[in-house]
């Protein structure tokens, strides 16, 4: 007898049985959740790999805020290395009254030394690779910027004091970042055009980069000569370091998204475990019969294994197809947030999905397989004979091992596995205990309820742990959906509420000393208030208490970053209205002693610095020594120019400085900003409204994408419900038949079941509303640092959606048990 063809024949006749459908749906959901996320992250990591050799557009990149030293150029020439230079800085570009913040990338002729630029002749035309850079007077512009400025190819845009013609859409440049791009889309320009823009003057915030490429040996020699001699402010990076950093970012994104998929996967696992018990139970009679007819154990087990394999295979096919389609939706939502066009996905995610399906099915159906193997043929004579129950330790051991193996397979990280696994055990354990408490409470309440409710509540408490699992599964899915739909908008609204209506909406940076009065004149002419300019001096911290910051032991990694980055210093006579003194005393108005410094409280803590400590800075090659005198808390939401470090007046008098200011400009007054940029191109104007809008846009899109992934969680929750109902459906059918013979009508039985699901949905909704509120409170207080307003909407929607979803799916699942006639139930034996 051909086992495979026999198994196949039976399988396709049994495929409509509920337990197979539940198994199939659960596997499909698990695979779909994993592959949809997998396809997306695969495209991201492929993009990383594709860019691996061109991340720097060179083999070595040296970055400096200062002009490129001639020595670098000479050294590169000596070793026959190719070179190029770039200048990168932010600036607002204009087209008539439209303006947008852009990243200006000015490049020399050889750029890029590695990789190719891709452009298109029209906004949505096909892109192609191009040698060379824009001619003088021309500019290649990112598609996002073209849309924001409402311009076309051939139009002119104002970059500083000059007008440049858009000659192509910039689709890709090798050194662009892979991550989110919308905040400041880039604009590629010939470096020879920069002097005419007037944007780069002394003190401008420009990042100069020197690119080098060539033979490995020569590069090593170049590297060894340059590193010991380069100034403190220079950052050097080679290909390997860059690749590692970019891959780490892509890996993190992948792990986060995989984690969201893992929750759906775990719920699917619960549904699989339950459905496979029912799968085994329903096959016990057939296995006993086949054994009585002389079939060997290996034969019946082989048939069951083939059936499980077929469920897995179909699940992988359906799941992958669904995952592929969902990924298309995800990319529609978040695709334009990526700087590069993502490559087509590979088949790798299908392998990941298939692997997960195999692990899930093997681990969670193993106990059922063992039960089938142990089914006695004597069952053909005595229906009450069931195989000996497996130990709880064996079953939970199987499940936990499978989950651990599955998580390791997906996350590929031992420590992360331990963290996630422990977290999952704690969270699901707590949820389980809360659910158990509620189920027990319902059991007690049933005495006080009417007939239908008594029947419904009795059913819930009778099913004990199964009811709790349903509640937890639904509660978890609903929590995340509530959090992402209602709480997200509440939080953003809450944050916006904290912003003053009259808060400044534009920042002016890079203002030169002699431009202050001229800019104020322009504002006064436009009936706007004159600005208060705050000085800004760029410095680098060198020592803390006479110890080099490079060797200083920081209590916090953030502190190291804070001390080593370029510091923006200012001075002030009085404490700013948006600052609040928390430690020490503010200096007197006519202080003239040793330079004192006031630190932002958190920064001081992270650097491990206290009042009386000494901080040394280097500014334009000169060293200055300061003493910490007090600490401040800053209200960053005030949108006033604020500084981590404020010095006493006079301390910075001898150093080059620029000025910053903030102002509120209404829509109808915007032309004055255009005038400022036209007349004083070195001044950069940053539009806070559009940044706020773009941040909101990114949050909206990212949370919508996560919501899509969490819809799988909800679907998996419904699969769990169906699995639970299915595991009791025979019992329900007989109970229904019994109640009908006792004289209860169909309506009363239906009401009883409705009561059961309403109560389950109510409790799941309660758990979800509670969870979402706690999480929302934690996020507002600890992340956004705003007061959380208790929202009734979450509770109303939580409870309503819980009741609606659970009742609807529950009634659909039990419909058959109610509608079937009692006679049919009794005649069911084959």
């Amino acid at each position: 007898m051909n086992i495979f063809s026999y198994a196949l024949r039976i399988f396709f006749r049994q495929i409509k049985s509920t337990e197979i459908i539940i198994l199939l749906v659960s596997i499909t959901l698990a695979v779909a959740a994993l592959t949809s996320v997998g396809f997306l992250t695969d495209r991201m990591s492929q993009s990383v790999d594709r860019q691996a050799n061109e991340i720097l557009a060179a083999d070595i990149r040296l970055r400096t805020p200062d002009p490129i030293p001639q020595f670098w150029e000479d050294t590169a020439k000596r070793y026959d290395l190719k070179t190029a230079e770039t200048q990168t800085f932010p600036s607002v570009v204009f087209n008539e009254n439209q303006s947008a913040l852009a990243t200006i990338k000015a490049v020399t002729q050889n750029y890029p030394l590695r990789g190719k630029i891709r452009i298109a002749k029209e906004l949505y035309a096909n892109e192609f690779e191009i040698e060379g850079i824009p001619e003088q007077g021309k500019v290649w512009v990112d598609g996002t910027l073209i849309s924001r400025l409402n311009v076309n190819i051939g139009d002119n845009i104002s970059v500083g004091q000059t007008d440049l013609t858009i000659s192509a859409v910039l689709k890709y440049r090798p050194d662009q970042s892979i991550g989110f791009s919308s905040l400041a889309p880039s604009l590629l320009v010939n470096i020879k055009d920069i002097p005419s823009t007037g944007l780069v003057v002394e003190g401008s915030r420009v990042r100069n980069a020197f690119l080098v490429a060539g033979e490995e040996d020569s590069l090593d020699k170049f590297y060894n000569i340059i590193v010991p001699t380069m100034p403190e402010s220079t950052r050097i990076r080679n290909r390997e370091e860059s690749l590692e950093r970019t891959q780490n970012t892509a890996d993190r994104a992948q792990r986060f998204l995989s984690l969201t998929a893992v929750i759906s996967l775990l719920l699917s696992a619960v549904a699989i475990a339950m459905a496979s018990r029912q799968f085994a139970y329903r096959r016990m009679d057939m296995v006993a019969l086949m054994k009585s007819l002389g079939a060997r154990q290996s034969f019946v087990i082989s048939i069951t294994c083939i059936h499980i394999f077929l469920v897995g295979l179909l699940g992988v096919i359906f799941g992958s197809a669904m995952g592929f389609a969902i990924e298309k939706i995800l990319i529609q939502i978040v695709g334009d947030l990526f700087a590069t066009q993502l490559p087509n996905p590979s088949l790798k995610p299908i392998l990941l999905g298939s692997g997960a399906a195999i692990i899930l099915l093997s681990g969670f159906t193993l106990p059922s397989l063992i039960q089938l193997r142990n089914t006695s043929p004597l069952r053909v004579l005595r229906n009450d004979i069931t195989p000996p129950s497996l130990s709880v330790f064996f079953i939970s051991g199987c499940s936990l091992l499978t989950l651990a193996f599955l998580l390791y397979y997906i996350l590929e990280d031992g420590w992360m596995l331990i963290t996630v696994f422990t977290g999952l055990l704690v969270v699901s354990g707590s949820l389980y205990l809360i659910g158990l408490g509620l189920v027990m409470l319902m059991g007690k309440l049933r005495g006080q309820a009417g007939a239908a409710w008594r029947y419904g509540l009795a059913n819930i408490s009778k099913k004990g742990s199964k009811s709790v699992i349903q509640i937890v599964a639904f509660g978890l899915g609903l929590t995340v959906l509530l959090l992402l739909t209602f709480v997200r908008t509440d939080l953003i609204r809450g944050w916006q509420k904290t912003l003053d209506e009259d808060a400044p909406n534009y920042f002016l940076i890079n203002v030169q000393r002699d431009q202050r009065q001229l800019i104020n004149n322009l504002l006064l002419n436009a009936n706007l208030e004159a600005l208060t300019f705050v000085p800004l001096v760029r410095a680098r911290m060198t020592k803390i208490n006479n110890q080099d910051v490079k060797t200083y032991k920081f209590p916090d990694e953030e502190g190291r970053w804070m001390a080593n980055r370029e510091a923006n210093l200012t001075w002030a006579t009085e404490l700013s209205s948006s600052n609040h003194l928390v430690k020490g005393e503010w200096w007197s108005k006519n202080y003239s002693g040793v330079p004192l410094v006031s630190l932002e409280e958190e920064a001081a803590m992270e650097m491990g610095v206290d009042i009386g400590d000494q901080l040394n800075f280097v500014i334009a090659g000169l060293e200055i020594e300061t003493i910490v005198s007090n600490m401040r808390e800053i209200n960053w939401d005030s949108f006033q120019p604020n500084f981590f470090m404020v010095l006493t007046p006079g301390a910075l008098d001898d150093f080059p400085r620029t000025y910053v200011a903030s102002t509120r400009v209404e829509e109808h007054q915007k032309s004055v900003l255009h005038d400022i940029t036209r007349n004083y191109p070195t001044v950069s104007i940053i539009d806070l409204n559009s940044i706020l809008q773009q941040v909101k846009n990114i949050i909206d899109k990212a949370s919508l994408a996560i919501q899509v992934v969490f819809l799988f969680t909800l679907a998996a929750g419904i699969a769990v419900l169906f699995a639970v109902v299915e595991s009791t459906v025979d019992e329900r059918r007989f109970e229904g038949a019994l109640l009908k013979t006792l004289g209860l009508n169909r309506r009363t039985i239906m009401l009883g079941m409705l009561a059961e699901y309403t109560a389950l949905g109510f409790v799941a909704g309660l758990l979800a509303a509670c969870g979402a509120s706690i999480l929302a409170w934690l996020i507002s207080v600890y992340f956004f640092e705003i007061d959380y307003e208790f929202s009734l909407v979450i509770w109303v929607y939580g409870l309503l959606s819980g009741i609606f979803l659970v009742s609807l799916s529950g009634l659909l699942a039990t419909k058959k048990a109610i509608t079937v006639s009692p006679l049919h139930t009794l005649r069911q034996a084959p």
Partner: protein, 230 residues
């Protein structure tokens, strides 16, 4: 050990089970011999141990003590697969609750043991026995589309299809009305008469028991009598 004409030998068979109330003896020291070609009924009141004895004789279960030989094979020393092998070769079953595979049609249900036995022409043989029980027209019907009597006729056809040397029937008319039950018994005995199969039949019904060559009567797990009827 050879039994020549003896197809089934039970030697001091005892079956005990453990229950919360302590050990329970379901069968106690049962011994008998059944010859090839005999038809034997096992009778007794409810709870006498009839079905348990049938299960032990067919190798579906093993006794606590004693030995059972079926076609020279000591069932008590074989493992489950070994006993399944003996059943595949020599045993057919007819059950009270029919036990047809719901997802297979009538023809396929009959083909199942033939295929398990690697019969060279399972379809043809299944058609032949279906013809004998008068259900050739309904060969493609599934169990849910058949009446109780028809299901039992399919079960009888399945049992005889492999031409077993021993056929066990457990209350074959228990789930049928009197008229249908009587026609089923007619078919069973007619097929038995035309083959060399030994029939062992558990029944409450004295008139059915009377149609057998011999009656083994049990009461409270003990062999009360083993008498020839003809």
């Amino acid at each position: 050990m050879s039994f020549n004409n003896k197809i089934l030998v039970a030697e001091s068979v005892t079956k005990q089970v453990t229950s919360p109330a302590g050990d329970l003896t379901i069968l106690s020291d049962i011994s008998f011999v059944i010859q090839r070609g005999e038809s034997v009924s096992i009778t007794g009141p409810s709870g006498a141990g009839k079905s348990t004895l049938l299960g032990l004789l067919a190798g579906l279960d093993i006794p606590t003590s004693g030995r059972i030989f079926l076609n020279d094979n000591d069932l008590t020393v074989l493992d489950e697969d070994g006993r399944a092998g003996v059943r595949a070769k020599s045993v057919g079953f007819v059950f009270q609750s029919f036990h047809l595979v719901a997802s297979l049609n009538a023809l396929e249900n009959i083909m199942l043991p033939l295929e398990l036995n690697k019969h060279p022409l399972p379809r043809e043989r299944a058609m032949e026995v279906l013809q004998k029980v008068g259900l050739i027209e309904r060969r493609l019907h599934y169990p849910s589309q058949l009446s109780g009597g028809e299901k039992q006729r399919v079960a009888i056809a399945r049992a005889f299809s492999t031409e077993p040397s021993l056929l066990f029937a457990d209350e074959p008319t228990g789930n049928l009305d009197t008229a249908t039950g009587s026609s089923i018994i007619d078919i069973l005995f007619e097929l038995n008469l035309n083959s060399t199969t030994t029939l062992i039949l558990v029944t409450h019904n004295q008139s059915i028991a009377a149609r057998c060559n011999r009656e083994i009567c049990l009461n409270a797990g003990n062999l009360v009598s083993s008498k020839s009827i003809t």
